[in-house]
Symmetry: C2
Subunit: 331 residues, 2 copies
């Protein structure tokens, strides 16, 4: 295993410390709960947006905290749900009179932790609602999931809900935005390689030198099938077909198109895929009005990518365009 | 070779097409010269900033074009200098009454191409100056370089010069800014793996399963030495020591600190390094007033990172804070 790590058991607290040190103007870090919250805490007159899951998917979730995005997030170990007390403390740290919306990517471990934390917070009269994200079209049930998995579409739910909350919408209204985004967003991914969690020290799955996993999960869960590698265009076509036929999206739709890198794939290869996906979208009669090419939801250093389509309307377009700032900023 | 590529010979034009399709509001793309320019072209009353080298280092250079950054850039094949005619056409496309500053990372191939292009442009009465960037402390002369190599410190030269040009500074004044940044910025990198240029199909160098290349160049050139891998902290100490002792930086200095990923290293590992580098900077008596953690100058999918320190003054701090926008934006 060749990685920039010290003691693998300290990998998560060490990188969270680095994120906090690099963003003192934006974030507060509470090491005890592996929790990062927006500087200055919640605004009592606005809905707070909260999330948390295993580490290894950065910038999701702790690097998605900031104005116009999440109010707070906590992380478990790599690919392990956060403990219940961390979830509970994150809700409490973000509690606001306007309420708290917890966005949970659909994995059984995360749901169990957030269910208990939500119950505990509700017992203390915190006004909290939960919403589950499940945008991955690859498989129905999965290794760690009843129903579909939540993957890169998560970014759009956070972005839209974060903007709506900042604009002063009510908890029910922000919940309705989450529902609208989730109903209109679909994703599928493909892996070229596995990744190596520091504490495990070996790959989480084996893939032949000429093989790819189509429909891979962000924890290396099996997808639809294993294939011999083929051209970027053919892989992109396969992802586009699966995603666009799922809702289905229709000719005339205004869409946001995302090519998300899984961690080990350079930005240039993502743009090769974007070029093909953009052409396919135009051929299908979609209008690409917003696009996102880069890393939004990763699996450590896995080489691979996912393709996401979000159907837009005027409300969602305005929410995507609202100002936002996170630790993922580049300037 | 497992990559998202089609015909390897089309890799560069295909990813450049993707960058252009994703940024129609920001960029114009001229396929004939693998050139990307700022939408709307140069502003005649302001200095234009131009760059170009081999591909494979993205976001440098074509993803660094935009308001407050480069006016235009061209790229050659992966790790190959752009042809003279592309450099010449890029200067011409960015020609302005206020003049053109060409920022060249110090590699012999790039210098030859830009020297000839500068001569051709000067013969046509374009007011053009050249500045060479050489921030890499690892080695003096190198495989493709007489003198030191230009690496991630390039970002700071572009950012400061782009801001100064946008503020209406003269060509001589912007040149002086380039000189000031280059005199005060130092970098060293380390590779955990090689990378595979698509047209070559095999790694550009061999590294054992437990080895790292300390002081690696961004084209895989040898560094100072090959070592057995050790902890992230020890590697970061080694980079920090080499970089901070070079000018040297002094206790009391206000600095910008960058951990730059080489393409295949996940953001979390970069933050593990940042945490250590930040602590070392404080122990050395530096004040870290700006920081940059992410990918600024890469080597395809190479796993590795570089550490850069820039000594700041009030002028440079203001230039780093000036607004800028490029294709590397995330929202």
């Amino acid at each position: 295993m060749k990685k920039f790590v010290n003691d693998p058991a300290q990998f998560v607290p060490e990188f969270m410390k680095g994120i906090a040190q690099a963003n003192p103007d934006l974030l507060d870090y509470t090491p005890e709960f592996q929790m990062i919250t927006r500087k200055g805490g919640p605004n009592n007159s606005k809905v707070s947006i909260v999330q948390g899951s295993g580490s290894g998917h950065e910038p999701a979730h702790v690097m998605a905290v900031g104005p116009g995005m999440l109010t707070g997030a906590c992380q478990g170990a790599v690919f392990a749900a956060p403990p219940v007390d961390a979830c509970y403390e994150t809700i409490k740290a973000c509690a606001s009179d306007a309420g708290v919306l917890v966005l949970v990517n659909n994995y059984q471990g995360d749901r169990m932790a957030w269910d208990m934390a939500t119950e505990m917070a509700t017992a203390e009269d915190i006004n909290v609602k939960q919403f589950w994200i499940n945008d991955d079209v690859a498989v129905e049930d999965s290794l760690y999931t009843v129903g579909r998995r939540g993957v890169a579409g998560n970014f759009f739910v956070i972005k839209a809900c974060g903007a709506a909350a900042d604009q002063g919408k009510s908890l029910d209204e922000v919940y309705a935005i989450a529902e609208k985004v989730n109903n209109n967003v679909r994703t599928m991914g493909v892996a070229l390689t596995s990744c190596i969690p520091p504490a495990k020290g070996t790959p989480i799955f084996e893939l032949g030198d000429d093989e790819i996993e189509v429909g891979v999960g962000i924890h290396g869960e099996p997808g639809r099938r294993r294939e011999k590698i083929h051209s970027a265009d053919k892989i992109t076509e396969e992802l586009f077909e699966a995603v666009s036929k799922d809702i289905p999206f229709n000719s005339g739709d205004r869409i946001a198109l995302m090519i998300n890198g899984l961690g080990g794939t350079p930005i240039t290869e993502l743009y090769v895929m974007y070029a093909k996906a953009h052409d396919l979208a135009e051929q299908a009669g979609f209008t690409v009005v917003r696009n996102y090419v880069g890393e939004y939801c990763t699996s450590l250093e896995m080489a691979g990518a996912s393709l996401t389509i979000l159907r837009l309307d005027a409300e969602l377009e305005a929410l995507l365009d609202a100002p936002a700032e996170t630790a993922a900023r580049i300037f």
